[in-house]
Symmetry: C3
Subunit: 318 residues, 3 copies
């Protein structure tokens, strides 16, 4: 693995999941990262990604340096050839080049604006760091993807499934604000790479990017989709078609115990933070069906497995 | 010790003070916390608590992760059953549950609003973390108490006293802003647990919560109270009776050298930050009487003793 | 070395440069700083200084604690004798005294206001910490100097020069905002301490403080100054004479390839962040002439050499 920008950077997903679950057992592998530094740069808020990746680095024996971009440092320019006589003090060429001097791996979080689809899909921030950094870059959630979350989700399903090929349903949920498609995009992507029966359900107008969902069946009737599910992954996202919009939806899509009745006592997943009684009802989150905390706990081991691969690769290439 | 929420969590105070003073001598005890992580979550500013607790963790060999809640992460909801369709993105149930996956101990700082006494006394933030965290929780100053500061104060008096039972006076001081009662509350509490002759002096209207001060004599004449004092602990707090109010006070309560004359060359303590020439005069802070820096230094060893106990307890309970 | 406030704190510059280049080779020297803590206090934004000094501390085996002053902690009062009944919660006497209890070395970044020259030259923040701290203080860029940057610059020139006495030109550049003179001050200072042919070029009205530039020739014709240069150090600064002002300048002072023609294929340096196509053109920054990233990388080893000296000195003095 040379970078971890999208799931396609993973060479052998099954091996990586196994390794994460091994790392979960041994807890510390301090020699792997000794003398190495990971720098985490946040353009947006973070709780789980920040702490789990910091912890993953430390569990590998690495030094960790975390910065709130913009707030702690300088406003960055991303445009090539810009005449920088306005509010941006530093070009990403230098910022990425300098971070590469201090860090052996760089993590970047940069959310979409949800205004201009082409601009968000260009992944300007993440791609600029990938282009100008001379060390591996890890996607800590970008405009269109969240591959560390998706790897966590695959690990959690592998850990919890009680049959070879469980049925997994990605179920849209309501939310007062317009949210990115990055989590459902990466989840839909990775579910096509492991051995599950995968279905997406969302209201009309909320279909995800067809280039990502490909042949996955998208069912607009939630009840029908949830039938016999072993796992329900609940998540809101704003419209991809009417880009970034929150469309009015007549039916109630909040996941509650009533809706779980048609499932095979499904385990309920969510990447968190979750708005209770809007996205998922208390009666689900506070029940045995919910595995959201175990899922969040696995973030550490997903990050650890990815950082370990990146370190091993850069060792080999010397 | 299972948590460190209030002073009543301490099983044997004398032992804990002794241990802190032992830890002060040896400086590092890196094996105790090896492979363990403490997460510090600040809802309010901090200098001493932040750095001394970070340092205490490192001195024990722990990994330390510090976050400014709200700023770095997500706005939290504390109400049970809330329909989260407004500005709060994450419920404390998940936040505490998730932090418990990444941290072996969680520290929380959450000040009072000083508007609604019942609400502040409910200790909503701290108690929610205690309720939903599955690891020990440490109070880094809450709405009504600051037990790490109080332990530091007891350690400092133990270290500096030159008689078996010194006279200790908690003396109210003026301040331009309404401040919490958390520090004087915890100080009044711990002074009743060690062998001192303890007196409180404050203007009328500034009596602390009688459920905390109990039988301690509260003297409204500062000069009389200070007579023969070995230690004077100076601190402002807003009114408990007229909750959160700054009442007009006619006499000058600022501690200065003139007022120290009646004492037994008393050592002067303050938890810091201190407003010079308002709370304590320069002629005291810059004199040999002041032990505020030594006191601040002991914050490290108080935190170290508490973290060590919590770690030992969780090891035993496995 | 007892502090690192200005370049005059360096006892033997050649030795220090050599040591930094040795540290660059060995990468880790973990025993030197084991059990020691460096605290970094930022009153202003920072990317390179923050991360390189954090990394330098870690490379020496130190614990590192970083704080954004004001934002994470309390607003500080610097005036002696102040009656603190307004917005400042803590006096630097206590802040510096307390940090000295938690840290073995304290780093301070505090920029000038660029309004009142006398006030900026008094270096109120840095000098207050030097005065009241009981541990070594490191200047992380103050109102009038940036000695860690200057040491980096001397290290970089030593590393890259291909003749005994290269010609080094400090060349002023345009900038939309008023910037401090701290970097050019310290650069002009250190260039007079190593074996180079040093020239400064800037427009009329932009001459630096003559107490710093002393006998260095200041040439107001950029083309003439650049002739045969081996190194060009590009940097904007606001006027010292018309203090803090951005004066209108008729000629174009942006460094570009055209202007490099008269040099000996000069290596181009800048402390970063650099505004592209305002301070230096893309055709220089993206060429082989630019050594700005290597220069930024050396920040780590300059900081490491300084921290190591300070640690060694405090060990000896025990």
């Amino acid at each position: 693995m040379k970078n971890y920008i999208t799931l396609s950077d993973i060479e052998n997903l099954d091996d990586l999941i196994k390794e994460a679950l091994e790392l979960k057992k041994i807890d510390w592998a301090l020699d792997t990262g000794k003398g190495k530094t990971v720098g985490l740069l946040f353009f947006n808020p973070s709780l789980r990604t920040r702490l789990s990746t910091e912890k993953a680095g430390k569990l590998l024996g690495m030094e960790v340096m975390t910065m709130n971009a913009g707030k702690d440092g300088w406003a960055l320019e991303f445009e090539d050839g810009a005449v920088m006589n306005s509010d941006k003090a530093e070009h990403v060429k230098e910022a990425a080049g300098v971070l590469s001097q201090y860090c052996d791996i760089i993590g970047i979080r940069a959310f979409p604006d949800l205004i201009d689809r082409d601009k968000d899909e260009a992944e300007i921030v993440l791609n600029a760091f990938r282009k100008y950094a001379t060390v591996p870059v890890v996607n800590l959630e970008s405009a269109t993807g969240h591959p560390l979350q998706a790897l966590t989700d695959a690990i959690t399903i592998s850990e919890l499934k009680d049959k070879k090929r469980p049925k997994v349903v990605l179920s849209w949920a309501p939310h007062p604000k317009a949210l990115p498609q990055s989590v459902p995009n990466s989840f839909a992507d990775i579910m096509q790479k492991i051995d599950v029966d995968f279905v997406i359900t969302n209201p009309n107008g909320y279909d995800l990017n067809p280039a990502i969902t490909k042949d996955v069946s998208v069912i607009h009737d939630q009840e029908k989709a949830l039938k016999d599910a072993d796992f329900v992954y609940v998540k809101n996202w704003s419209s991809y078609e009417h880009y970034g919009k929150v469309l009015s939806v007549k039916k109630d899509w909040t996941l509650n115990q009533e809706k779980l009745k048609g499932t095979k006592n499904a385990k309920v997943m969510h990447c968190l933070p979750v708005r209770r009684n809007v996205v998922i009802a208390d009666d689900v989150l506070d029940s045995e069906n919910s595995v959201v905390l175990q899922q969040a706990g696995n973030r550490t081991f997903a990050a650890q497995a990815v950082l370990k691969r990146l370190l091993e690769n850069s060792d080999n290439s010397r």
